[in-house]
């Protein structure tokens, strides 16, 4: 009897673990858009996407996945790339490096020729190692850490961390937002500490004094009262938060409770804060963030994209969506420049597109006249937005 019970327990544990694994890669994460048009065209380009659809960074991955689908539908409707339709498949990585590599392998088995991804930095660095081995062309919409594009085959649509850190300092300096700044960053995260270091370096040149620089780690990210108390005591006028939105939502709440009301300035990691479940949007009033995209901008391209996104997903796109939308058009531009066809191998497409990236100029939602350097970085002007009444407003 005892044996039977312990066997059952063992079985229950195994089932539980398997079930846990199963849930980490839900089937709905893969999506295929525009497959109906593939039959008539015969050969198609197979483009993959990887990003977090579940987990703590799900807001980013979902935005990227949705925007990628919109871009692919548009491109396919307009005749595809070099006359060939695009087939799309998106895999979930839960913002986890190991799961991202698994997702990459799944997509490779499917026959992926070009990768648009991954969405977040740490998984992107891991996947870049793999695409480099295969010489697969990779463009990340939003992987900001430096090593994301350390190899020839990888490019990005967004700014790198160093650029975001120094761009934030320059923005604060030129707009005279504050002279005393407190920073709270995640020292266990490469994205956050990367921005902080470059911010600190550039702040000196801008006449900004960093009065308090506090950190937290992944294991200790629920209680920020001490860090906030120190920031409050230091008399900082502005609180710089180069972190992700979940922690930022907590910080805003705890700062409000203790009656600390500085100007809040963040980077692209804060994008998504308005989508946090049960978050009081009033707390995010007047929060500024450095982002290349404001959904209320008046130009035709933005209006059309926001309209389609709203219609299809009943949601306002954030900058991640805009980055992903641009990424697909960048892939299109590079493929056309390089005269790619679907019968070319991954390696051939990769080599041809890498050359093409150095010569193309793309006008996108996140910047006009974007060009790329050989080391994968984009050239475009920085922009910031402010949150008013629960929506982003261009500044």
């Amino acid at each position: 009897m005892k044996k039977a019970v312990s066997m059952m327990l063992a079985l229950a544990l195994v089932v539980g673990t398997l079930a846990g694994c199963g849930s980490s890669a839900p089937a709905e994460s893969s999506s295929e858009a525009a497959t109906e048009s593939t039959a008539e065209a015969g050969a198609t380009f197979k483009i993959g996407g990887i990003g977090p659809i579940t987990g703590g960074a799900a807001v980013y991955g979902t935005a990227v996945k949705n925007a990628q689908e919109i871009a692919v539908e548009e491109i396919n409707a307009a005749g595809g790339i070099n006359g060939y339709q695009i087939e799309l498949k998106f895999e979930d990585d839960e913002h986890d490096a190991e799961k991202a590599v698994n997702a990459y392998n799944t997509l490779k088995d499917w026959g992926m020729q070009v990768l648009m991804g991954t969405v977040t930095s740490a998984p992107c660095v891991a996947v870049a190692e793999k695409t480099h081995e295969d010489n697969m062309f990779q463009i990340t919409p939003s992987g900001t850490s430096v090593p994301c594009v350390q190899y020839d085959n990888a490019f990005r649509v967004c700014f790198s961390d160093p650029n975001q850190g120094s761009a934030s300092a320059i923005y604060m300096g030129t707009n005279k937002l504050a002279s005393k700044v407190a920073v709270i960053y995640d020292s266990s995260d490469v994205y956050s500490s990367g921005i902080y270091e470059n911010f600190a370096a550039e702040a000196k040149n801008q006449g900004i004094e960093i009065v308090v620089a506090e950190s937290f780690t992944a294991d200790n990210k629920t209680d920020f009262t001490i860090q906030l108390q120190k920031a409050k005591d230091s008399g900082a006028e502005l609180l710089f938060l180069p972190i992700y939105y979940n922690e930022a939502a907590l910080i805003l709440k705890q700062a409000d409770t203790m009656g600390f009301k500085p100007i809040i300035f963040g980077c692209d990691g804060l994008d998504g804060i308005l989508a946090v479940e049960d978050f009081d949007k009033a707390l995010a009033e007047d929060v500024m963030l450095l982002t290349p995209f404001a959904a209320d901008a008046e130009d035709e391209a933005t209006k059309s994209f926001v309209g389609k996104f709203n219609e299809k997903y009943n949601d306002t796109p954030n900058q991640f969506a805009a980055d992903a939308y641009d990424a697909m058009y960048i892939i299109k531009a590079a493929m056309e420049e390089a005269n790619c066809t679907p019968d070319m191998s991954v390696d051939e497409i990769g080599t041809a597109m890498i050359e093409a990236m150095k010569t193309i100029t793309v006008d996108g939602l996140t910047g006009a006249g974007m060009t790329w350097t050989a080391d994968g970085e984009v050239n475009k002007a920085p922009k910031a937005v402010i949150i008013k009444d629960g929506v982003y407003k261009a500044m």
Binding site: G56, T217, I226
Partner: protein, 294 residues
Amino acid sequence: MSSFLSYLITGISLGSVYAIIALGYTMVYGIAKMLNFAHGDVIMVGSYIAFLAVGAMGLPPILAVILAVVVCTTLGITIEKIAYKPLRTASPLAVLITAIGVSYFLQNMALLIFGANTKMFTSLISIDAINIGDGTVVVTGETLVTILACIFIMVCLTLFINKTKAGQAMLAVSEDKGAAELMGINVNGTISLTFAIGSALAAIAGVLLCSAYPTLTPYTGSMPGIKAFVAAVFGGIGSIPGAFIGGILLGVIENMSKAYISSQLSDAIVFSVLIIVLLVKPTGILGKKIHEKV
């Protein structure tokens, strides 16, 4: 000075949560002589139950807490019956590994049921913050309730153990299981009762923890669980006042090192304190030295 006071108060509040969790560790260790590493995850389950009770079922906070306590108590007894009782005669290592297995089982079940997305936990405590000295020191309602709850639980538990028959039975079982059985004490029943009390406390700790730091994920319980274990060892594992003192000290040390040394190193400092205490006094602050009879 005012900021020192507010660091101290939040430290005591954090420590109170650790103390309540540590009570669960220390009682189970004292009586069943095992480390129940799944204890931290029972906290998480309790928080999810309270979250659902308030959010989805619309229950008033007090009923939500009671529901969480009932579910966690049942869960605690079930875990004990299914996973630990069959191993009562097995080596301590087997029981330890089983406890770790149960911990992962609970985490993965929560992942499966609730998903990995962070939930914003709405505080169940609706007492306004108290301002002392024109807003220089702010004591939130959560802080106040946490500290009071911890003291209340400590008093009740001490009375229970010293004044009731069941409490005396617990003491007897913790001293000598065999002899207690010979004296007619229902050892299995006593162990189940211990798990029930520990898990009920875990549910309360979960609600307090998530009210003060309002995020909820399937991993919410694991770090506080480990810290509370440290607190239990720090205070002397097996000792109830030890868990209280260990918890409060740990919370204060953590906050003070964050405030005055480095916010980045606070965890490292907390664990270094544990190592130093164990080097100097291996049984913890209030731990009893056990004389082996030859």
